[in-house]
């Protein structure tokens, strides 16, 4: 058996950070701590993307998840709650049945992952992916790409309409 390479050790560290902070999101009794450990998960997942030779997606992950969604989530947490009152702000119910469902799902999936014979090819050496992704977006995936911009526009307008203050006519 050959020893662990630097890449393997780094992968283990990154995977550990990802899973531990995901556990922090799931089990933390305080919603603010949950939100901050979500940042660890997002950064860890971005690092996993780098390991998977997906440089562009990793940067997009950092920009959109960490820079956008996480900040939005933190804003919502701060705006909506009496944060000091943890008992109200992050109640959890049904822990035991949920843990059983978790264990069941994990068991079935681990059996599937380890049992399946994945047909893999030797991973190519990492190369910049932006060229290929750009070609895909403007070629094969042009229609979904355009639809995505329509969806984003609808989401933008919808969010503005939903969160504005109602002005009542006197």
């Amino acid at each position: 058996m050959s020893g662990l390479g630097v890449g393997d050790v780094l992968f283990c560290v990154v995977a550990l950070v990802t899973v531990v902070s995901a556990a922090g999101v799931a089990f933390s009794p305080n919603i603010v701590y949950s939100a901050f450990s979500l940042m660890g998960t997002f950064m860890g997942v971005a690092a996993l993307y780098v390991f998977l030779a997906a440089d562009f997606v990793a940067v997009v992950q950092v920009l959109i998840y960490v820079g956008g969604i996480l900040v939005l989530t933190l804003f919502a947490v701060m705006l909506t709650h009496r944060i000091a009152d943890v008992r109200i702000s992050n109640r959890s119910v049904g822990r035991l049945p949920s843990l059983m469902i978790m264990a069941l799902v994990a068991g079935v999936m681990i059996k599937a992952i380890l049992g399946a014979h994945w047909h893999t090819v030797d991973a190519a050496t990492p190369a910049p992916t932006t060229y290929g992704i750009g070609n895909s977006f403007l070629g094969e995936y042009l229609l979904p790409f355009e639809l995505a911009s329509v969806v984003l526009l609808a989401a933008l307008i919808g969010a503005v309409v939903l969160s504005r203050k109602e002005l009542t006519e006197e």
Binding site: A26, L48, A54, F75, A76, I88, V105, I113, I133, S136
Partner: protein
């Protein structure tokens, strides 16, 4: 032993079940949305892992970008709805907001 496809799948599985637990147990609407983000991230890890260890096209990465885009739209709309609920009910506990229950 070197890192292979199944390692990524197992990391993704762990993130998925933790997100599932988050969705099932949280009673705070924002906590539930965080669980959904975890589930979406685990799906993305799977997409990129299969893209890396299969024929080597860009389809998996393109799908991952679409998922990230939809997650951003979902977060914006979801949090706007949560803020609206808070303005109406003064709480975002999903068990307190059951006016529509028959």
């Amino acid at each position: 032993m070197s890192v292979g496809l199944s390692h990524y799948l197992i990391v993704s599985l762990l993130v998925f079940v933790l997100g599932l637990y988050c969705v099932l147990t949280r009673r705070n609407a924002i906590g539930i949305l965080m669980g959904v983000e975890l589930v979406l991230n685990s799906a993305n890890i799977n997409y990129l892992a299969f893209a890396r260890y299969s024929s080597g096209g860009y389809d998996g990465q393109v799908f991952a970008i679409f998922v990230i885009m939809l997650a951003a739209a979902e977060a914006a709309i979801g949090l706007a709805i949560v803020l609206g609920i808070y303005q109406t009910f003064q709480t975002i506990d999903v068990e307190a907001t059951e006016t529509l229950r028959g």
